[in-house]
């Protein structure tokens, strides 16, 4: 009965939603603020990747909030599972092949993650993707070596300091410029690694922060006692 009602309600909702979305033609160019960003991004922010320039510069405030959401998720998870955290991860011993493979891959994965967030303003990717890749690499080590530990203290410091760098970068715009998060550094030549002013700094901070947060989150979950 409950299922039939749910299907009925959802079918009406879906039909209505589809009919609304059909009024928006697919694949057509529309006149919107996105066009302005495409036309001006290289000139105004110095970044080649428009998505990065929007995420970090034009809508950088959203990103500050986004970083906060991840921070909150890690904090909330820590609070909810507070007294269930054990000392050790309870995993089975991985086989030799897995361990050797993990050992070889781990530095490469971390390097890839770092590459992705350092080149965020030039190529696809950025702080979030890079941080997530690094956390995946650490996870691989967690699973292969039971004794592999990340320093809890270091994670907290990285997480907090990276967040503070982000907010202070924001305030630097308020102090030396006119507005919060404004770029106060030279833009440089578009397409070079050292360009786009404040964008790489923020994205590197975001990369460290996301990497540390996700690692801490996974560590916390893995150590939870059943």
């Amino acid at each position: 009965m409950r299922k039939v009602t749910a299907i009925f309600v959802l079918a009406i909702f879906g039909f209505y939603m589809l009919s609304v979305f059909l009024t928006i033609p697919f694949g057509e160019k529309r006149d919107n603020v996105g066009q302005h960003y495409l036309a001006n991004t290289v000139k105004e922010t110095g970044a080649v990747n428009t998505v990065t320039s929007i995420v970090v510069s034009y809508r950088g405030f959203d990103t500050l909030g986004e970083v906060t959401v991840l921070f909150l998720a890690a904090t909330g998870l820590g609070a909810i599972l507070f007294d269930k955290k054990g000392k050790k991860r309870r995993l089975q011993h991985a086989s030799l092949i897995v361990r050797v493979g993990a050992h070889l891959l781990y530095p490469l994965i971390v390097l890839l993650g770092a590459y992705v967030f350092v080149h965020g303003h030039l190529t696809p990717g950025g702080g979030f993707q890079g941080g997530a890749i690094i956390a995946t690499g650490v996870l691989l080590m967690f699973m292969s070596y039971r004794s592999f530990e990340t320093s809890h203290k270091a994670l907290i410091y990285i997480e907090s300091l990276a967040g503070i760098v982000f907010v202070l970068a924001g305030f630097s715009g308020l102090i030396w410029g006119q507005s919060f998060l404004q770029n106060v550094l030279p833009l440089g030549e578009p397409g070079r690694l050292l360009s786009a002013g404040i964008i790489p700094i923020i994205y590197i901070a975001v990369g460290f922060k996301v990497g540390a947060e996700l690692t801490g989150l996974l560590d916390n979950l893995l150590k939870t006692i059943k």
Binding site: I24, R59, G78, A79, I80
Partner: protein, 488 residues
């Protein structure tokens, strides 16, 4: 460096990022940080207020002019509400200082700061997607705080809240993308100028999505299933945070959208009808509650219904009355939750029946509870009286006579169940054995501040009306919102 509205968000975030590091060295300092931050922000809010009266402060983020960058719109309304939540937040911190003894303390204070930062963000941002981000910050912090006690019911309540909350954010996000596809912009003022050209079908769909999305957080019927559980299972000060801060933020967002984006008659009629239904059902449910905090939660839903009615009438006077009611509800309901927190603590049970005779044993806390109860049912000479009076007169002028009858009836129901608790406190024989534990000084000061405000406004309502009038104009005046919001 001059004060700017961005401090309301950036400073709590900075403090929240700092807390884990400081927590490694000293727990005592961690407990003081939120108080210092909220005191500072109250000061910023008060000192910014005179500027907003001349002209709303529109803060540009990252140096890009609207509609290309994100802007913060800090008009008299935002100033009024932000000042309110900062002061209420400070009082709740003062109360938490001795009340929250459960580990992890630093996580509690981080979540507490971020829920306030998120609510302030919803109130001052001028960009719909940015509002989504702040909405998520507020809700995730609220979910975690609901489960903070880590007991059976807390986890259940938080999970329920999370499910309903994610429906809300999904609907909101779909609405945002429809608006972007139709108008090509995300700035609220810019959307308002382009809303005329949107065809009717998407417009109504967007309106419904927004109303459902915010209706969940503003406790509108039938979307308020999360509220009684979350209020009663969260630590008591967090009940105050929900009633005084989180709900206010999403009510603000709903009203802003109703007045700026969907200012057609049917929106307001819809809000009015939903408000009436919410109020009547909530007051009747409150009557049946056995647990004190659940009763307060239903009463809170009923009060928000009253606010919605006043907004739905939609005249200048009724909007003023609604804002007055929002303010009173924030102050009084916070006082009630804080007092109920210690009453529950002293009696050792959440049941109303366990409160028998506590008025003799714990006179101060009981007095504050009784004062809050008398104020919220609208007895003179307390603050609640004036706002209810204004709501009644403005609704009468709008010509909604049936609504007035319903408001009066639910007012009587409210009086019955509050007075029932108060009479239990004072006119029953003392059954509690506990005479050792005392209410700590910080808790008494926190409740005392709120009580003084209630009595003061009860005698001199014009003190607060002075601030409400410009705020109401700011909400109603769509043209000036567009003009200043786009920096023309």
């Amino acid at each position: 460096m001059n004060f700017s509205p961005v401090h309301f968000i950036a400073v709590p975030l900075l403090a929240a990022f700092l807390i884990p590091i400081i927590g490694r060295f000293s727990k005592e300092v961690v407990k003081l940080i939120p108080g210092a931050v909220l005191l500072y922000l109250s000061y910023v809010a008060i000192s910014l207020y005179p500027h907003t009266l001349q002209k709303p402060i529109v803060e540009i983020i990252a140096g890009f002019k609207p509609p290309f960058g994100i802007t913060l719109y800090y008009g008299p309304l935002a100033a009024f509400l932000v000042t309110m939540i900062m002061i209420v937040g400070f009082v709740i911190w003062l109360y938490s200082y001795k009340f929250i003894i459960r580990e992890p303390l630093e996580k509690y204070y981080m979540l507490f700061l971020l829920v306030i930062a998120g609510a302030a963000g919803i109130m001052i941002t001028g960009d719909i997607f940015n509002m989504f981000v702040f909405l998520e910050i507020t809700s995730i912090a609220a979910y975690s705080l609901t489960a903070f006690l880590r007991d059976k019911d807390g986890a259940e309540a938080a999970f329920k809240y999370l499910l309903i909350g994610s429906f809300s954010s999904t609907f909101y996000l779909i609405a945002v993308m429809l608006i972007y596809a139709n108008t090509g912009t995300l700035n609220i003022a810019d959307i308002a100028t382009k809303m005329q050209s949107v065809p009717n079908q998407p417009k109504i769909f967007i309106m419904i999505l927004f109303m459902v999305g915010f209706g969940i957080e503003s406790e509108l019927f039938p979307l308020n299933g999360w509220a009684p559980d979350a209020y009663s299972q969260a630590p008591s000060p967090i009940g105050g945070v929900f009633g005084g801060i989180v709900v206010k933020a999403s009510t603000y967002a709903m009203m802003r959208f109703a007045f700026v984006l969907f200012d057609f008659r049917s929106t307001f009629e819809f809000i009015l009808v939903m408000g009436v239904i919410t109020m009547v059902i909530a007051e009747m449910s409150a009557m049946r509650q056995q647990q004190i905090k659940r009763m307060l939660a239903f009463s809170s839903i009923g009060q928000m219904g009253l606010v919605m009615i006043a907004f739905g009438v939609g005249t200048d006077a009724s909007v003023q009355a609604a804002l007055f009611q929002i303010f009173n509800h924030a102050i009084i309901k916070t006082l009630l939750f804080l007092a109920a927190g210690y009453l529950v603590f002293h009696s050792g049970s959440k049941k109303i029946s366990a409160l028998d005779g506590l008025g003799h044993n714990k006179p101060i806390t009981s007095f504050f509870f009784a004062l809050g109860a008398l104020a919220i049912i609208g007895l003179p000479p307390f603050a609640g009286f004036w706002s209810k009076l204004y709501i009644l007169t403005s609704t009468a002028k709008g010509g909604f006579l049936t609504v007035i009858v319903l408001i009066l009836i639910s007012g009587i129901i409210e009086a019955v169940y509050y007075l029932r608790v108060v009479s239990r406190l004072y006119f029953k024989k003392d059954v509690s054995k506990d005479s050792v534990r005392r209410t700590p000084l910080s808790g008494i000061v926190a409740m005392g501040v709120l009580a003084i405000v209630i009595i003061l406004i009860g005698f001199y309502p014009h003190l607060i009306l002075e601030y409400i009038q410009p705020a109401a104009h700011d909400l109603i005046d769509k043209a000036s919102y567009i003009k200043f919001g786009l920096l023309n």
